[in-house]
Symmetry: C2
Subunit: 97 residues, 2 copies
């Protein structure tokens, strides 16, 4: 996939207006959101949906799971920070919930 530029601070602020449950993680130069489900089956079902979206977009999350909780960080290593790809995937993930 072609190289991609990181979002400017203004672009990031604008993009996060549409993603109120995501927060900018300065240290990891990405956006993060925590999800809680009723149990592991629901959490992993959600992860499976995210995995399909991620693979289709060729853009993959950094994420962890403990039982009913899922933590997702989206960043774009090729851009050295947050990019449009992260925003697009975050919107697709939010649409799952």
């Amino acid at each position: 996939m072609a190289a991609i530029s990181p979002l400017s601070e203004a672009e990031r602020s604008a993009a996060l207006q549409d993603l109120p449950q995501w927060t900018y993680d300065k240290d990891n130069k990405g956006i993060a959101r925590s999800f809680a489900f009723g149990n592991f089956v629901e959490a992993f079902g959600f992860m499976s949906s995210v995995a399909l979206l991620a693979e289709k977009a060729d853009h993959h999350p950094e994420w962890s799971n403990v039982y009913n909780r899922v933590e997702i960080l989206l960043t774009t290593h090729d851009a050295g920070g947050l990019s449009e790809r992260d925003i697009a995937l975050a919107k697709q993930i939010d649409a799952l919930i």
Copy 2:
């Protein structure tokens, strides 16, 4: 599920003889292993298999994934440390590889 006792140090050492690729994580009172795959599809395919085994055993990993890498920590909160359940699940996970 009934309460379960943590393994003694001797039991843990004996159990880890059969799990040479797992290391005891003292801070998290569990055993950890890192897995690397060819790509995300393979990594998530592996995670899906682990998820089914975990749900069947009613014992779930603490784990994370970044693209082709999967990190798994197994510990038993009900036991306050490592238990037979972790050893059993680790063996099932190893059998997937």
